[in-house]
Each structure stands twice: as structure tokens, then as C-alpha cells.
Symmetry: C2
Subunit: 336 residues, 2 copies
Amino acid sequence: MSTLISREIHLASRPQGKPTLDNFALVEATVPVLGPGQVLIRNRFLSVDPYMRGRMKDAESYVPPYRVGEVMDGAAVGEVIESEAPELTAGELVLHSRGWREYAVLEATKVTALRPQAGLSPSVYLGALGVPGLTAYVGVLDIAGMQPGERVFVSSAAGAVGSLAGQIAKLRGASRVIGSAGSAAKVRYLEGLGFDAAFNYQDAPVGESLALAAPDGIDVYFDNVGGDHLAAAIDRLRRGGRVAVCGAISVYNADSPVPGPSNLSLLIGKRLTLRGFLVGDHWNRMPEFVAEMSGWLREGKIRFDETVVDGIEHAADAFLGVLQGDNTGKMIVRLD
Amino acid sequence: MSTLISREIHLASRPQGKPTLDNFALVEATVPVLGPGQVLIRNRFLSVDPYMRGRMKDAESYVPPYRVGEVMDGAAVGEVIESEAPELTAGELVLHSRGWREYAVLEATKVTALRPQAGLSPSVYLGALGVPGLTAYVGVLDIAGMQPGERVFVSSAAGAVGSLAGQIAKLRGASRVIGSAGSAAKVRYLEGLGFDAAFNYQDAPVGESLALAAPDGIDVYFDNVGGDHLAAAIDRLRRGGRVAVCGAISVYNADSPVPGPSNLSLLIGKRLTLRGFLVGDHWNRMPEFVAEMSGWLREGKIRFDETVVDGIEHAADAFLGVLQGDNTGKMIVRLD
């Protein structure tokens, strides 16, 4: 194969506070020649996720930070176009972690072959059937241990994980599911998804809106936000309530410490549990999750939307959009 | 029996911020005549506990607030001096919840008969063999789920619950137990109890002291304090760490909200769990706890100290002392 050029997004500089386009660079790179056991993948869909903000900081965390001048890796779905590995052949659809570039070369052992789902875009493996879906599933069922009949509150509920968490809770028997989002349009979207109540957190203090939406309190809070949302949830949680702490988008851009909830002492009297989790600890749940979620998708019981941005040259815009809540459902960059 | 007068402590007024002696009143009351099924108890030891501060507020909580002009109930050990109930006879040692008065009349069904422990004061049932002991036991073993080999941090470690929590952790196989307390004398006391490290939280920021005392981090934090201690613990907890949230003495006197830890988003990356609890949910553990703790006490493996104040007229002083940490071990008022 002749020299192949791949456009890719590099971290150009680390952001101070809110990232800007200056922090990213679109770079052309020569795709390396395949070695034994490797495959060449043409990426078709790139995942754009809030957690990537954490990797832009120069701080060790559960995932290593991006390095300045290198590609901002992420999940991607692509097509094998050349293979030096027996287990994968050209034309196969695959999931892997070398996103934010047009072409990826990596070991076949680090790639997951996908089965196309009838009637669904392959990008579903970055969303409902992928990490966001498993995150929602594990958070609601395992971390929060939701039981049928319980009341569930989900923040950032119009996002990829939140919209799935609310629907999974409902399908598994929650008696009431409440969602918060950042616009009137998203509130209508949540109502369309079957949430029993939804509110725009920009309209009034979260505590007031949640009290109106959950007059009898809540048993489970699926937290994507932290901050005021977490404090409001702690106020409204009933005895024995549980919080699945999944994300803290309210503080991702903070350069200085943001004070936490002032009502943590309620954990004692109400016997509350706050439990943080990362989906990476729960891959063992993937088979059961895929089986159940595939069924729900086939039967039209779960609705999963995407906000699609075309072209790798707009990946940074898409990412900045996720951080300010421009997306409804999963943010995807499509390369075609 | 002729008219019997009992001195008792009333809540005279609700405190604003730190309570003062003006909030309490010593009152003489006539002891009522016994009805069928009731017993008359002469109290010998009154329990003085930090949680009572919460009951002085006019706010519904897991225990009802004290009413102004009424007795500040609490745990007590006394002796039956008259009985109209077949199950109890004069001379028996009992545990009950009508403390802060010299004489109590109540239904025999609400009283627990005690077996005197050789060599131990009957007040041990208000401490090591009572609610503080069970609280420490359940918090370390059930709520935090401490495993042998783990590193444990206990705040307010020279108090009744904390000193037991640290010793129970050690006896159950913790590899390192660290305690914080509010004076140099208490730090020495903790070292004498077998804590591997102890620091005075007034000497330096808690985070700095804890980092020095726990260079390899901690797995379990037994929280009696909240505030800076909780934030420091979250910083030092290792992956999968657990916090048993037992008390929040740092905020009990606050009239306005005290900001919580600014590092709660670490719950996610480190997969931490914060779990609040009340000992009242765990009475089912009492038999196992009493068996194990009695053995430890008999064998001299657990040391349990009391700060004893004589006379009901000094109960309010004793309580104010607990809130500012004057006690080492359990604060007791002795009536003799």
C-alpha cells in the first residue's frame, strides 16, 4: 500500500479552565506500515465523551493524561481495511480505542470485532451497546442496586449515559424516574423518552425543582454532575438511599477547588451511601448487558439518540459542545 | 413509698451555635407512683454523647428533638429499687433510655437487665459493651467491611467510639491504624492503646498530618468528624476505599451550612464508597458483638477508659466538655 495520510487531533496545549479551540490541533500524519499481528482500520465513528476533559489535565488519574503534541485517543468504530492478523479480515466492523484520527494501526488483540445490528448504525457500539450503555446499566443496577418500585433521579439526563440510565431504571421497574437537563428542549426530550418528570436546572435552584418533581423523595440518584445536583439529591434521598457517582461534569473545568455539598452529615441519619464507580471494573457484566440491551433496542423499548458532527476537523467543536451540553444523547463524529 | 424527688436536667432553651450552660436547667420533679408493669430505677451512670447535640435543634431527624422544658433523655445504667413487673426484681442492674435524671419510672419491657461483669464498672454497658462499642464494631466490620491487612484511619480517636474502632480494627487484623485527636496528651493516649500512628489535628492541616502518618494511603476511614478530616481521608484513600460515616462533630454546632469536601469527584476514579449508618439498625449484631468484646475485655486486649464527672448537677458541664473534646474515652456522669 502506498503512503497513507491520516488526519488526527492532537492536544496542542493544556486548558486553563474551559477548553478552547486553541488547545487542539488538526495534524496530518503518515500511517505506519503494518507489522505482524496488526490491522489497519479506517475509522467511521469517533466517540466524544466528557471524561476526556480529565485527561487534558496533567494529573495522574484512573486513565493517564493525554500528552501535549500527541493524539487524544478515544473509542472508535471502524472498518478493517488491511490485516496482518489471522483473526481479522478486511471488511470487518471493529471497536477499538484509537479514535480521534482517520486511520488507526494497532494489534488485532486490542480490537473487538462487532456484529452489525439490523436497523442500527454501527455507532450504537459507542452508545447504547457500548461504554455509555454499560455505564448506565451497571450504575443503576449494581452500584445503586435499584429495586423495582423505587424512585430514581438522573442528572445530565439528556446525555448519552443519563438518557440510558433513566430508561433502564424505568424498564427495570422504577416507580418514578426524574431527569434534569439544561434546556427546555431537552426537558421535552426527556418527557418523550418516558421520564415521569423532568426539569431544566437553569430555571431555578436544583433543590427547589427536585422537591417539586419528587414530592415523596428519591431512593436512587445517578450522578453525572456533582455540585448543586448532588447536594439537592442528598436532601431528597429517603432512608437507605444510594447515589451512583458516575461523573462530575460541574467541576471538570474548575481550576480551583469547588466546595462540596454542605449536607453530607445527612448520610448518617438517613443511612445514605455514595459510591463512585468506573465502568472499566465491570466488563464482566458485558454479556448480560448486551443481551438485555439488544433486546430492548430490537423491541423499540429503548430510544437512543445521537448528535452527529461530520468530519474530524470538527471533533474539537463537538467536544467543546459536550462540555457545555450542546448534545442530546451521544455525541459522535462521523467520518465518511 | 413516700414522695420521692428526682433531680433532672431539662432543655431550658435551644442553643444558637455552641451550647452554653444557659441552655440547661436542673429541676426537681416528683417521681410518679408505679403503675402495673412498671419499675422504679435509681440511675447510677448517665451516658453523655455528642449525638445529643442534634436533638437540641428543633429539626426532625432520626431521633426526635428534645422539647424545651422537658428532660434530655439519654442512655443510663441503674438499679431497680421497686418493681410492679414480674420480670424484674429490686436490686437488678438495668440499662434503659431515661437518663439525665436521678430516678426513672418506665415499663419493664423497655428495660434491659444486665449481667455484672467481673472487674468492670457497670458503666461498661454505656461504653465498650454498649452503644459506643457496637457502633465501633459495626462501623469497622460491617459498614466499612474492613479486611485483614488493610490500613485504617479513625478520627476523634480518643473518644468512646473512636478508641474502640481503632482497637477493634487492630484486633481484627488491620495492618496499620492511625488516629487523630485534639491534644498532645490524647495522641500519647492513642499510642498507648496500640495505634500505629496518631496526630493532633490542631498542629497542622489534617491533610498534611495524615499524609505523613499514612504514606501508603488508607483503605478505611471511620469518620466521627466530617469537614477537613473527611476531605483529607478522601485524598488519602486507595482504590476501592470505604468510609463509615458515623458522626460529624465538626458541624454539630454550625448554625449555617459548612461547605463539604471539594474533592468528592475522587470517589469516581478511586471507586470510593461513603456510607452513613446508625447503630440502631444493627441491634441484630449485638449477641456476636457482646461475645467477642467481652472476651477482649476479659483478656485485657481492649482498653476502655472513662472520663467520669460526679453528680447530676454537672451533667451539662460534662456535655459541653464532650463537644469540645475534654473527654478521653467515654464521658460518664456518676450518681452515687
